[in-house]
C-alpha cells in the first residue's frame, strides 16, 4: 500500500514531466536489435535485419520475396523485372525484361543501364563506382553471377559462370541504387568511397519509402514514396531506432517510445501481454541444428547414429522451455514447403526406435556413445544456445548418449565453421551448432551437401561427399523451369532428411512485440516484412 501511495504521489507531483507525446498518426517507430543503422547505400549489413529495414523499404531488386501472407511459404515474385528466361542454347545467359514505369527517389528513370551499373558496382573492379564494401554483402549471395549487358532500354542480359537456375532467387539480394544520384554525389566528393558514404547519408532507390533524415548510430527516418511503382505504403513515416539491449527495447515499447520492437526479452512477454501489447511470431526460414562431421572413423558417419539422435530429441519439451517461441524442425524446410519432398524418414520423438538404432550401430550400456559438440554461448540467430543445448544433453542421456560441449565465442564458432571439422579448430568435435538462414537453395542445402563446398570453400563443415548428392545439386541447378527446379530441390531435401545429414532441432519464429495501435501487419514465413502493409490506428 505504501509503495502504491508513493508511486501515486510521485505521479501526481510530476505531471509536467510526462513522457514524450504520442507520435503522429501514420508514423511507425521501430526498435531494432542492431546496434547501428544498417547500411543505407543499397546493400545493407547487419544480416537480414538490414535487408528487412534498410534494403526492402528503400530499394527494389529485379525479383522480390512474396511477403503478403502469413499462411503460405514465401516465394520469389517479379519486382523490377517483369519476366525472365534463360537462353536455350547457352544456359549461362539470362534475359530479364524490366518494368517501364519506375523512377528512383531522385526522379531519374530506372532502366537497363541502371541494372548494369548496379551489377558492376559489386562485380567489376575496373568500374569507377566499384565498392569493395558492397562486394562481401552481395557477391556471396549470388555466387555465379558474372556480368550484365544492356540489350535495349528495358531489357538486360545477365551472365553466370555456370548454368544456375537459382539466379532469380539470388537476385533478391541485389538492390538497385540510382546511378544518377551517385554521379551527383561523386561530383562533390574526392573519391568513389567518399561518394558512397555521401550516398549512404542521402540514398536514392526505387523502394516504397525514401530517407528523410539520417543520424548515424541513432535513427533513420523514412517517408512514404508517393511515386512508388507498386502498391503504396499506408504509413506516412517510419522511424528506425537501434536498441541492441533486449530489456531496453522492451522498456521503450512499454513506455511508448516505440511502437514495435524486434526480439522482445522472452521473460518480459507476459508483462507485455498484460499491457495489451501484441506478440507476433511465425515460422522462419531458419534452422537451429547440430551439423555432423563425416571424417573417417567418426561415429556420425553411421546413418543409424544420426537418425537415432534425430529421434531422441523432445522438441515439444524444448518449445515449452522457450516459452513457445520455436517450431520443431523436421528438416531444413517445413512440411508444405515446395522443397519439402516428403521424406520417408520422419523426424519425431521416438526414443525406443532411437535405442534400437543405437544398439544396431553397436552402442548401448556396455559401449556408451560419447559425442562432442562445439557450441557458442550467444550469437545472432543462435536463439538461446546454452539452455537449449543443455536441454538436448539431458534428452540424449535418456537414450545412452553422453554429450560434451566445447563452448567457444560466437565469432570463433563461425570462423571454425569455415575451417571444417578435420581442422584443429574443431578440437575433435563430432558436431557443430551454427544456426543458418534457409531462404534460398544455395544457403539452405547446396553449401552443406555439395562436395565442392567442403571447407574452406563454403560451409560443408563436415566434409560430406556423396556423388549421389552432387548429382542432385547439379540437377537442381540445371532445372530452369521453376516447377522442375522445385521438384529437384524437393528430391534433394528429402534425400538429406532420409540420410539425416543434420540433427534438425528448431526453427526460429522471430518474435516481435507491438503496440495494439499498429494494424494491418502481416508476419510472413520469411526473415523480411512488408512495411507497406501496417498502419497506425
Amino acid at each position: 500500500m505504501l509503495r502504491r501511495l508513493l508511486l501515486a504521489a510521485c505521479a501526481a507531483a510530476l505531471p509536467t514531466i510526462s513522457a514524450a507525446p504520442a507520435a503522429a498518426q501514420g508514423t511507425l517507430r521501430i526498435g531494432m536489435t542492431a546496434a547501428d543503422i544498417p547500411l543505407t547505400h543499397g546493400q545493407p549489413d547487419q544480416g537480414f535485419e538490414g535487408n528487412r529495414f534498410t534494403g526492402i523499404p528503400l530499394y527494389d531488386g529485379l525479383t522480390q520475396w512474396d511477403l503478403s501472407s502469413a499462411e503460405r511459404p514465401s516465394v520469389v515474385l517479379p519486382a523490377l523485372a517483369t519476366e525472365w528466361s534463360v537462353d536455350a542454347n547457352d544456359r549461362t545467359r539470362w534475359t530479364f525484361r524490366l518494368r517501364r514505369d519506375v523512377r528512383f527517389h531522385d526522379g531519374s528513370p530506372f532502366n537497363a543501364e541502371a541494372v548494369v551499373w548496379n551489377v558492376r558496382k559489386v562485380l567489376d573492379r575496373e568500374a569507377a563506382h566499384f565498392d569493395p564494401r558492397q562486394v562481401g554483402l552481395t557477391a556471396s549471395r549470388m555466387p555465379t553471377l558474372r556480368r550484365a549487358e544492356v540489350i535495349d532500354e528495358f531489357t538486360v542480359a545477365l551472365i553466370t559462370s555456370e548454368p544456375d537456375s537459382l539466379l532469380p532467387i539470388n537476385l533478391t539480394n541485389l538492390f538497385m541504387a540510382s546511378p544518377t544520384h551517385w554521379a551527383a554525389m561523386r561530383a562533390a566528393q574526392p573519391s568513389a568511397e567518399a561518394a558512397w558514404n555521401a550516398f549512404a547519408a542521402n540514398p536514392s532507390g526505387t523502394g516504397p519509402f525514401r530517407v528523410t533524415r539520417f543520424v548515424p548510430r541513432e535513427r533513420l527516418e523514412m517517408a512514404r514514396n508517393d511515386n512508388y511503382w507498386g502498391t503504396k505504403a499506408k504509413l506516412d513515416r517510419v522511424i528506425l531506432l537501434p536498441i541492441p539491449e533486449a530489456n531496453a527495447r522492451t522498456a521503450a515499447l512499454l513506455s511508448n517510445q516505440v511502437d514495435w520492437i524486434e526480439a522482445p526479452a522472452p521473460d518480459s512477454v507476459p508483462q507485455m501481454r498484460s499491457r495489451n501489447m501484441v506478440i507476433t511470431q511465425n515460422l522462419q526460414p531458419h534452422v537451429w541444428p547440430w551439423q555432423p562431421c563425416f571424417t573417417a572413423g567418426n561415429p556420425m558417419t553411421d546413418v543409424r547414429v544420426r537418425r537415432a539422435l534425430n529421434l531422441a530429441i523432445d522438441r515439444e519439451g524444448l518449445r515449452t522451455l522457450l516459452g513457445g517461441f520455436m517450431v520443431p524442425a523436421q528438416g531444413t524446410v517445413a512440411p508444405g514447403h515446395p522443397w519439402w519432398g516428403n521424406p520417408s524418414f520422419q523426424i519425431r520423438t521416438d526414443r525406443a526406435e532411437a535405442r534400437r538404432l543405437l544398439a544396431e550401430a553397436g552402442y548401448g550400456p556396455q559401449r556408451p556413445l560419447t559425442l562432442k559438440v562445439q557450441i557458442s554461448a550467444s550469437g545472432s540467430g543462435q536463439m538461446q544456445p546454452l539452455p537449449m543445448n543443455e536441454f538436448l544433453q539431458q534428452d540424449l542421456r535418456q537414450v545412452g548418449i553422453n554429450i560434451e560441449f566445447d563452448v567457444v565465442e560466437w565469432n570463433t564458432l563461425f570462423a571454425n565453421w569455415r575451417n571444417g571439422c578435420a581442422h584443429a579448430s574443431a578440437r575433435g568435435a563430432h558436431m557443430t551448432n551454427v544456426s543458418f538462414a534457409a531462404m534460398d537453395p544455395f544457403f539452405a542445402m547446396v553449401r552443406f551437401w555439395d562436395s565442392k563446398m567442403a571447407a574452406p570453400v563454403s560451409n560443408n563443415w563436415g566434409g560430406f561427399n556423396s556423388p549421389r548428392f552432387d548429382a542432385m545439386v547439379a540437377e537442381a541447378r540445371n532445372s530452369f523451369e521453376p516447377a522442375a527446379r522445385d521438384a529437384a530441390l524437393a528430391r534433394l531435401h528429402a534425400a538429406g532428411v532420409e540420410e539425416a545429414l543434420f540433427i534438425w532441432i528448431a526453427h526460429d519464429v522471430s518474435p516481435r512485440a507491438m503496440n495494439p495501435r499498429v494494424r494491418g501487419y502481416v508476419q510472413p514465413q520469411s526473415w523480411f516484412v512488408d512495411l507497406r502493409l501496417p498502419f497506425i490506428q
Binding site: A20, A35, V135, I243
Partner: protein, 317 residues
C-alpha cells in the same frame, strides 16, 4: 611549472605509443575475425579472401600496425570497417554525448559525495555519519546497470514519467538544453552518478575527519573561528586530495560506461565500443580506445597541475 608541464607532455608521447600498441594488439588477439564486419559469415572463401586483400587485413600484423600508426600521427583514425564512415566523425559525436552525460553525472555525484562526505566527516560517529556511510557503501556496491534497469522499470514503464532510452526525441544531433531533451538525461545520469557519489563520499569523509583532528583546527577554534570559518579552512586543506579523486572519477565517467549507455541506448563512446566489439570493427575499437586513453592521460595531467596551483606545498619540479 612550465618545465614541469613540458616534461609531462614529453612523457605523454611514449605513453601514447604504448597505449596505441597495446590497444592495437589487444583487439587483434581477441577472438573472432574482423572480416565478419564486412562479409556475411557464410560468404564463400574467395569473396572473403578478396575483401581481406581490399582492406589490407592480409598483411602481417607489424605492417598493419605501422600503417595504422602512420595514419594516426597524421590525425587519421581510419574508417569503420562496418560503415565506411571516418572513425573520427563517429567518435566526435559519441564523445560529445558522453561528455554531456558525464558532466551531468559528475555534477550530481560529486555534489552529493562532497556534501555527504563533508557532513559525515564533520559529524563523525553520528547518525548522519552512519547514514552517509550506508549510502556510500550502497552506491559503490549496487551494479549500476541493474540500478539503471530498475529505474527504467519504475519511472519509464510503470509511471511513464521519464523516457527509457535515447538522447532526445530527435536523437542527439538536435540536442538542446530544454526539458524535452534533458529528461532523457535524468535516468542515465542518476545511474552513472551512484558509484562516484559513493567513492567521493567515502574519500571526503576520511579526509575531512582527518583534518578536523589536526591541531590547526583546534587553534582556529581557539582564535574564535566557528562553523563557516573553520569549514573554509578545512575545504582548502582537503581540496588537493579530493580533487585527485574527482579527477580520476571524471576520467572514468568520460570513458563512458558500456553497460549504462547500452541499457539506455545513449549514443556515447560506451555504446560505440559495444557495437564495435560485437562487429569486430577494429578501426573503431582502436581509435576509440586510443582517444579515450589519451583523454585520461590529459585529465590526470590537468588534475596534477590544478593540485599544484591549489597547494604550493606540492612540489612537482
Amino acid at each position: 611549472m612550465l618545465f614541469y608541464l613540458i616534461r609531462r607532455l614529453i612523457y605523454a608521447v611514449p605513453i601514447a605509443l604504448a597505449v596505441g600498441f597495446v590497444c592495437f594488439m589487444l583487439v587483434q588477439i581477441a577472438p573472432g575475425d574482423p572480416i565478419n564486419a564486412i562479409v556475411p559469415p557464410d560468404a564463400p572463401q574467395d569473396v572473403v579472401d578478396q575483401v581481406r586483400r581490399d582492406y589490407g587485413l592480409d598483411k602481417p600484423l607489424p605492417v598493419q600496425f605501422g600503417i595504422w600508426l602512420l595514419k594516426v600521427v597524421q590525425g587519421d583514425l581510419g574508417r569503420s570497417l562496418a560503415t565506411g564512415r571516418p572513425v573520427w566523425s563517429d567518435l566526435q559525436s559519441a564523445i560529445g554525448n558522453t561528455l554531456t552525460l558525464a558532466a551531468s553525472a559528475s555534477l550530481l555525484g560529486f555534489m552529493l559525495g562532497c556534501v555527504l562526505g563533508g557532513l559525515a566527516g564533520t559529524f563523525r560517529g553520528s547518525i548522519l555519519d552512519r547514514a552517509a556511510v550506508t549510502i556510500a557503501v550502497a552506491g559503490v556496491s549496487v551494479p549500476h546497470y541493474w540500478l539503471g534497469m530498475v529505474l527504467v522499470v519504475i519511472f519509464s514503464v510503470q509511471l511513464n514519467m521519464l523516457p527509457a532510452m535515447g538522447a532526445g526525441p530527435g536523437g542527439s544531433a538536435d540536442w538542446a538544453w530544454d526539458w524535452e531533451h534533458m529528461q532523457h538525461l535524468v535516468l542515465p545520469s542518476i545511474t552513472l552518478a551512484v558509484i562516484p557519489m559513493g567513492i567521493v563520499t567515502r574519500t571526503v569523509r576520511g579526509i575531512v575527519a582527518e583534518i578536523m583532528n589536526q591541531e590547526f583546527v583546534v587553534a582556529l577554534r581557539g582564535k574564535g573561528l566557528t562553523g563557516w570559518g573553520v569549514f573554509l579552512h578545512v575545504v582548502k586543506n582537503a581540496a588537493p586530495n579530493v580533487l585527485a579523486v574527482l579527477g580520476l572519477q571524471l576520467g572514468y565517467l568520460m570513458g563512458g560506461s558500456i553497460l549504462v549507455e547500452t541499457v539506455f541506448s545513449w549514443p556515447g563512446t560506451g555504446l560505440l565500443l559495444n557495437s564495435a566489439i560485437f562487429q569486430r570493427d577494429l578501426p573503431v575499437l582502436q581509435g576509440t580506445i586510443l582517444v579515450l586513453s589519451l583523454f585520461f592521460v590529459a585529465l590526470n595531467l590537468l588534475v596534477d597541475l590544478v593540485q599544484t596551483a591549489l597547494d604550493p606545498r606540492i612540489k612537482r619540479a
